[in-house]
Subunit: 550 residues, 2 copies
């Protein structure tokens, strides 16, 4: 930690960041080990092997086998598993958020490698953040798996045909690599899991893929994409082309066709979002030139345009290939970019000439589940079982770490003869204070329901219905639903969204804590309660009067 | 679902409940399948194989392999994965909580089997609920594993020796089977995991077992317990006998010796609680005769004393063995109780004679990790490697489901030559509104810290310190810490517990939601803010005046 060491700081623990660290370690001469210090910041202490992530949904691969501990891959790199708060290019310092103690930490650097990837841009579609399950990180795959089993458990006992249909409908937004591989594995899992449920037949399932373009897999040639389309349809997957996700609610997905203003509502409890991508929050703030997707422009030598000490690669950077086209966001490109980036950082430190990024891609692979895949490798097109064997061989050979290769190989062997796992590991609990989005006409709750939440209207309007009659309208700032919580009686009215509606919901437990201990809430709740009680008393009196007259 | 079917309803998805369902299915004649309907309610759709749960901590067994899906074990039983709200013995109806829709569900029964197990009684020790990790369910094992890796990650980069020591200290409360097996596996994991951390040596670790009695493993004979004690100590585990956990905070454990009123504070970030057990909340409410541990008294025929249609077994029941002693809470006893209970329910329905519970236990086994164990089987005592082989053989043979046996066997084989997994799966996020307990003298935060939470005092007193000087005292109902959140500046004062202190903490995100949208909070926060700003301005003025004078 002496100050004369040159400090190389890598931000991001994906393929791009971790492989940069690995290539730096590999490229350093023995004598340079004391001169250069490599650090890497990643919120997770592992790297996710993205290409195999869909197999976690179906349980073909054990959850933890699709990730590899960064420490074991880059042994001489100092790892910091904290959130990044700020990048200060003037002072050459990155500030990390607190962990156990409420104290931030500063990491100074001489060279900075930005490999922060991209994030799901859930802000564009109302309700996506609140109700759709993203598909990008390991936690997402686990959440999705849990959600699928949870709806099957409920559907098995559900007697209302409408709710049953909603529970057994699954929607995936995005027909690119990620969406297709995700829906293929989901469908495989569903098809085999239903055998454990007495009252669910495979034909009760409805699995829908939404794609805004006019074909799926735009990354591949048209004939392979058509083949994949046919295969997925044969397995019962409904593909809706030229259709995009317009909104997501707790009860379903709102779709819109490309050339029509009309919307369609598909009742569903599980909606998965794989698009659209947006730049990382920290990348957005960096004062560099970017392309229209928000990716940092880098030179073919991998340093950021206009900077000699900041480097960028992976999904957050626009890296030109020798043919002038920008590298696509795939693992194989990130890996080669890392190689060039690491070599050029070392060359800069040594004062030797830099080299240019010269990779144009080896090929493209997409798994379609059920022992089939499509591949385009060096001009050769493969499909079906042979492509699938090729797909597995490629990724097994590419998986970093020998122990993980063994574990995955074992998983694949056991998968041949053991049944799919249907355990629902309930470790995801909704936060006690969360947001909720509703489509026009949807019910927040029905009169007579069990009251387990209090709501505050953020935007939009809602009708208060008593016995089907609208008795009031709720607007921004209005609080409702607290009566059933406080007095432990069923909901005394129904609440229905009159317009698209955004709410905050507060759980019974958090609400009780807040009411009991926070002075302001107590007072305002008492006011709201008194008002509501007065309203209810008035209504009861009216009803009594009416009853007396008749 | 016709109403002339006899409905047997089992509450609880542990060994006792699931095996009752299995034995009922097995014991039914072909013709009875249409006459009897078996239902089981469990929040999880799987049964945890408790004896192997400690192996999940070390990663010897993959997380999901230690659980078995209930549907696959009891195929003709209807499974409901919801919370139980109420048991109504008059109407013979059990009410379940809502799932996706805010609607409860009623399950009528003719025979009720109560197999709800026990829970950790965290109410007795201040701070245990908030800061200790229980060790009972699958989620606990995962949480513990994640917590262990998280402290190692932090410790590797920590430069403050005091905080580093705190991060590398691990405390387990309870020296029975559960505590001993837990600490043995934790220690194994820690010893092998540290090799991946550059700046942590095995000798930096401090692992402490607390036992309130004068020896560990009271379930076993004294010589085996002494052997286990020696083995654990040889591995570096500190065993504190006659010592109990008096309080737990975010920063450590407060201990108290049996015969002394003095307390000792051990700084630690990971504190595990395996005792004490208490009856399930629903069992507490049942109007049956109970023993002093709160367990339901049952006849040797397994029905509840004083009831002909309610049966109880497992950890929530006091089941007399033929020798008059009550059955201990182990899997082998639950299994045999289930056998008797199922047979007697069928006998009651058929009008044939009941039989009495006649099992007295086959033996006792405790794993000590690191390929050693202690065992007492039919009078024969085993220890060390031979006991460990026996331990594995017994539990592998007892694990329900052939697919799981295969998976566990494979895990054990891979464990021989693959390294321990050190991935930290961060899927547990603290709730945005949570409680916190502090010991006298502990700091809530220091002046200059990063502000990420607002606090409300529930009970106790705290000092507000500015530059070491106490400037105010906080009491129940006082709100503090909101300044740093609103104005994004570091904490302007330190807060220290003057007495044992209980707080509610609200995260930045939840606080912003509440302040923005909840009218009462907004008003009261504004008031608090104005008051605080006035105080700060006054202090600043004083300081300026003082500076001017000097």
């Amino acid at each position: 930690m002496s100050s004369d060491k040159k400090r190389i700081l890598i931000l991001g623990g994906g393929f791009a960041g971790v492989y940069t660290a690995m290539y730096l370690e590999k490229g350093m001469f023995w004598g340079e080990r004391d001169q250069y210090e490599i650090s890497l910041v990643s919120l997770e202490n592992y790297m996710v092997f993205q290409p195999l992530l869909p197999e976690v949904i179906s349980g073909t691969i054990e959850t933890l086998h699709v990730i590899s501990p960064i420490r074991r891959l880059a042994k001489r790199t100092r790892l910091h598993t904290r959130e990044i708060l700020e990048i200060d290019l003037e002072r050459k310092v990155v500030t990390l958020g607190p962990e156990f103690l409420p104290k931030t930490k500063e990491l100074p650097f001489d060279h900075l490698v930005v490999a922060l990837g991209s994030r799901l841009n859930s802000g564009l579609v109302p309700g996506m953040r609140e109700h759709a399950i993203p598909f990008k990180y390991l936690g997402d795959a686990l959440r999705l798996r849990t959600a699928i089993v949870q709806v099957l458990e409920e559907a098995d006992n559900e007697t209302d045909p409408e709710e049953r249909r909603r529970l057994l409908t699954f929607v995936v937004g995005g027909g690119g690599f990620s969406g297709v591989e995700c829906i293929a594995e989901m469908n495989d899992f569903l098809q085999s899991a239903v055998s454990a449920y007495q009252s669910i037949k495979a034909s009760d399932l409805r699995v829908i893929l939404l794609q805004s373009a006019d074909r799926i897999l735009p990354e591949l040639g048209e004939d392979l994409a058509r083949y994949a389309h046919k295969i997925l349809e044969q397995r019962g997957i409904e593909i809706r082309l030229n259709t995009r996700l317009k909104a997501v609610t707790a009860e379903g997905a709102v779709l819109q066709g490309k050339s029509s203003p009309e919307t369609e509502f598909i009742p569903a409890r599980v909606v998965v979002a794989t698009v659209p991508a947006a730049p990382h929050r920290l990348v957005e703030k960096l004062p560099f030139e970017k392309d229209k997707g928000g990716r940092i422009l880098v030179a073919p030598e991998m340093h950021v345009v206009g900077s000699a000490f900041v480097w960028a690669l992976g999904d957050c950077a626009a890296v030109p290939q020798p043919d002038g086209i920008m590298s696509p966001p795939t693992a194989q490109h990130a890996l080669r970019q890392a190689q060039t980036c690491a070599a050029n950082i070392l060359a800069t430190l040594r004062g030797t000439p830099l080299r240019r990024f010269s990779f144009t891609g080896l090929g493209k692979l997409a798994s379609l589940g059920h022992r089939s895949a499509v591949a385009e490798v060096m001009g050769i097109k493969l499909r079906g079982f042979i492509a699938w064997i090729f797909w597995r061989a490629v990724y097994l050979s590419k998986f970093p770490g020998l122990d993980r290769k063994w574990r995955i190989f074992t998983d694949w062997c056991l998968d041949i003869f053991l049944p799919r796992d249907i355990t629902e590991v309930r470790i995801f609990f909704p936060d006690s204070v969360s947001r909720q989005h509703l489509h026009t006409g949807e019910m927040v709750f029905d009169q007579g329901d069990f009251g387990d939440k209090v709501f505050v209207v953020i935007s939009g309007e809602a009708d208060v219905l008593r016995d089907g009659q609208s008795v009031a309208t709720l607007r921004a700032g209005d609080v409702f639903g607290e009566m059933a919580l406080i007095s432990q009686i069923p909901r005394s009215a129904s609440i229905q969204a009159k317009t698209p509606l955004d709410l905050i919901s507060i759980s019974r437990d958090a609400f009780e804590k807040l009411v009991t201990h926070l002075p302001g809430v107590k007072t305002s709740m008492n006011e709201v309660l008194q008002k509501h009680t007065a309203t209810r008393d008035a209504i009861l009196k009216q009803m009594e009067d009416a009853a007396r007259k008749s």
